[in-house]
Amino acid sequence: MRHGHGWWLLAPALLLLFVAFILPVGTMVPMSFRPYVPLVGITGGFTARHYVKLVTDSYYLEIIGRTLGLGLIVTGSTLVIGYPLAFFLARTRSRWRSWLTILVVFPLMLNLVVRTFGWIALLAQNGLVNQALQALGVVDGPVKLLFNFVGVFIGLTHIFLPFMVLVLIGAIQNIPRDVEDAARVLGASWGSAFFRVTLPLSAPGILSGSILVFVLTISALVTPRLLGGPTYQVMSTLIYDEFLQRLNWPAGSAQSLLLTVMVLTLVYLSSRLARRTGTGA
């Protein structure tokens, strides 16, 4: 193993990141303190107004709260829906296992806009879900499933479920089957073996899967935009409008930095937590 020479090999990647990532994100910091006058644009000077508005104005607080709420509930739903599937795929000896896993990977690889479009077709007024609900007599007339919480929630759960499942498969595979068998031999019922042995041992996977899905959910743009429409806003779609429609770059920069700080704080805390519990999650 030789030392040196390494930096030359790193140079292209580091240069790329410096020019097209660190510098651009860095310039958002001064931009977020610039005043913005409607119909005039960005002016000289210094103001903390954009940040103050973000944490005091009820319009922004509602959007921030909604973003975090969606993050929590989507994380919870992917965990509950995905855990049994991950458990099955991690433990099955079926020869179909790798192809069933590919079925989980497939939606992940499929274009995000296409997947979201599928939910528009499913959740529309005359869509398949409404047809099914009416045929089953659950509802009398079509229910509004798009451009509100329901649509965005279903879409995001579908989009991020594969991430949760794949992380959990890895975690559950790391638990030796013998540990469960030992618990059963010692007289534990299936339920208590699962809830007192398997589930706690997969906690690192649950933690990293949850952080991943939460972070992806609060960062998502395409799905909330298409299924939530222009009125059901989350932080990403707010930033999108601020930059492309209202052209208020300083406010958009402040919102972007707030979202970034939220994401990075979570990622940092989870890595600290993983290190403290001695797991490599």
Partner: protein, 263 residues
Amino acid sequence: MTAARVRTWLLRGWVALVLGFLTLPAVVIALASFSRTSYLTVPPRGLTLRWFAAVLGDAEYVHAIGFSVVLALVATIGSVGAGVAASFALIRRRVAGGAGVAALLNAPLVFPGVVVGVALLQFYAMVHANGTFVGLAVAHMVITVPYVVRAVTASLQGIDPELEDAARVLGASGPIAFFAVTLPLIRPGVAAGALFSFIVSFDNVPVSIFLLGAGQMTLPVKIFSAIEYGVDPSIAAISTMLIVLTGVGLAVAERWIGFHRFV
């Protein structure tokens, strides 16, 4: 053991339900794209290929497909070059501060896509690089390089460094040892990284949408704006083409390199 059997079947039932939920949108789109109606409907009424013909006869769609492919190829070549070199430095050369560098290389993956997009929009406007193909390609390299680094470092960690040392002892120079010994051994990792790169670039919306200049249009952004404008079966037709391509590509990649191990 009836309780155990019930449990097994309950679990299998749940697995089938969830896998069904995961594939449902793709199935619905594929069905809707064959409908004769000019609005989106499932199950399809009648059977026609006219929406596929409409898409392939639409100059805007054809241009967007070509533009996306070229962009994804350029981004992939760039990020594979930079990513393989960086991975090799991190795993084999043990550069000082390697952990920090690795975290930095991974950062564009952690940052919200929309933030990377608007940051570059602002920055390119400042340095007068907005609307350029180079700017767009560089942006795509930033978001694809982490995938290459992840796949290639995983591959490199599984290769005994003594193989390369043996080649050096036998008189091969550093680059020759790398290209003749190490690179063939990590080929599955490089292939997986390149494939990820291509897909991530080809699918990207949150970065592209802020950086596209006049006359530039990627396929996903085109579909995105078409949906915002109004839903019709030609969107289902182009989506169906992507579904088939993704499915075939994934099946080939699975047989070829055991793709699911790299996800």
